[in-house]
């Protein structure tokens, strides 16, 4: 028996496909998420919209709240650590969370290096805005990626931009000649062997989900149509008028994203979505997607 192999790590990511991973701030919300059909929950003290509102340094969650959520639900429990903060990651590993999100939503702890994720038994998910960043994170050991979007805005435009960018870059790499791949790897700042993998397979070596700004079932379906294998929903559920209804609707939308008639039914009568932020009013310095190197 060999525990926590890379195959076993990516295996859990495979099993999360087509399910919705929801940010929850307490046991009550975790139970609402599970009852709605979430395939996993992300335990954190403040959803991104609240982190934006409150400011200050955002850190990994209190182990007590993570343990309480683990005890309350039977689905996988994820939690976030600051970029580069391998000590927070070791603590989450000791708690046996099912996935660690090395996340730009928290305040980075290292402005140069991400965590070396290979030695950990827990799988990691990391954010990306383009193929170079995606392949660097996989090179460091991430078993799952998510396009960053812009967390806590309720605005899907950045998620769309990152998904489209990734798709366009993957298409480009598949069309390059073999002799062009090393220069491509150099220009992208990506490991050569992973560029070769993308060239040969036309996809990333691990699943890719969408995150950052998903607020409606239609947003979730849009991400699926642009190649996301499922979605993370942060503030979009518990900052809306009727979280239980909206959570259930987003779960249904990622399954039936190809069926507009079902989507119309699913989208009906959900109450008000979170209010959201227009990107033009969000200064560069406040954009979380710029964090990560």
């Amino acid at each position: 028996m060999e525990k926590s192999t890379f195959q076993a790590k990516v295996g859990l990511a495979e099993m999360l496909k087509g399910g919705v991973i929801m940010d929850v701030m307490n046991v009550e919300q975790a139970l609402i998420a599970e009852a709605a059909g979430a395939c996993a929950v992300m335990a954190l003290e403040r959803v991104p919209a609240l982190i934006r509102r409150d400011g200050g340094v955002a850190r990994a969650s209190d182990p007590e709240m993570i343990k309480a959520i683990q005890a309350a639900v039977s689905i996988p429990v994820m939690a976030k650590v600051r970029i580069g903060h391998f000590m927070e990651a070791r603590i989450l590993e000791a708690l046996e969370v099912d996935f660690i999100d090395e996340s730009e939503v928290l305040t980075p702890a290292d402005d140069e290096f991400h965590i070396d994720k290979h030695p950990f038994k827990v799988p990691f998910v990391c954010g990306c805005t383009d193929i170079g960043e995606a392949l660097r994170r996989i090179g460091e050991g991430a078993a799952l990626l998510r396009t960053k979007g812009e967390a806590g805005t309720g605005n899907v435009v950045e998620a769309v931009r990152h998904l489209r960018k990734l798709r366009e870059q993957i298409r480009r790499i598949t069309q390059l000649g073999r002799e062009e791949l090393m220069t491509e790897a150099k220009n992208l700042g990506a490991p050569y062997d992973l560029v070769v993998y993308v060239h040969e397979h036309g996809k990333l070596p691990v699943p890719n989900f969408a995150a950052g700004g998903v607020a409606t079932p239609a947003d979730a379906a849009l991400c699926m149509a642009l190649g996301a294998e499922t979605v993370f929903v942060g503030s979009g559920i518990f900052m809306s008028e009727d979280p239980a209804k909206r959570a259930k609707a987003v779960v249904e939308a990622v399954t039936y994203w190809e069926d507009p008639k079902k989507l119309a039914e699913i989208s009906t009568g959900l109450g008000t979505a979170m209010s959201g932020i227009e990107m033009k009013t969000l200064p560069e310095a406040e954009r979380l997607a710029n964090r990560g190197w």
């Binding site: 859990l12 099993m15 059909g37 039977s74 099912d98």
Partner: protein
């Protein structure tokens, strides 16, 4: 054979590839009409609680019961095995009772305890992801795969259930046992 893979959530796409690699006409199933057109069925891994809720909301139980009652072949893996069991523990939850076994969810532990191994007396690769354990077998259930002496694969007539993920490896033997090689 036309093999449908229940595609509500989870690892369904890899099962479609595995069935196609054997030469079957495989595709996703999300409606009763799509299932009615299938000769074989795969219930994939994923989150069993999510699958249960979507089966209920989109009213698929009747169609699934019909497929099983018709004696058509089924392969249920991991979460699929949990849905199919007569009883589920850890925690207790609803299930469909197509397979006369009791299953405990996440019974090897959380994700850090997920592992790869090989089946007893064979080189068949086994990938266990937050996997269930088969606790108790009814009289009509035959053990098909064991790991360290414990049943990890069972069959009851044309209905096969495994706690591991054959679709995550290149090994085609489990899919071939259930659906044959055309």
């Amino acid at each position: 054979m036309k093999v449908g893979v229940l595609a509500l959530q989870g690892g369904w796409a890899a099962h479609i590839q595995a069935a196609r690699a054997l030469g079957h006409d495989a595709g996703p199933v999300r409606t009763a009409a799509e299932l009615a057109a299938c000769d074989g069925l795969i219930l994939p891994g994923g989150e069993s609680t999510t699958h249960l809720k979507l089966i209920d909301r989109f009213d698929l139980k009747g169609a699934l019961d019909g497929h099983v009652a018709a004696g058509k072949p089924v392969l249920a893996t991991c979460a699929g095995l949990i849905l199919s069991a007569r009883a589920v523990t850890h925690p207790a939850q609803a299930s469909f009772g197509w397979l006369d076994v009791t299953v405990a969810r996440n019974a090897w532990g959380r994700q850090v305890h997920s592992f790869e191994a090989t089946a007893d007396g064979s080189d068949l690769p086994l990938v266990f992801i937050r996997a269930p354990r088969i606790l108790d077998l009814g009289p009509g259930v035959e053990v098909t795969h064991t790991f360290e002496g414990e049943p990890v694969g069972v069959r009851q007539g044309p209905f096969w259930g495994v706690a591991f993920h054959p679709e995550l490896t290149a090994d085609q033997r489990v899919h071939a046992q259930v659906f044959g090689r055309p």
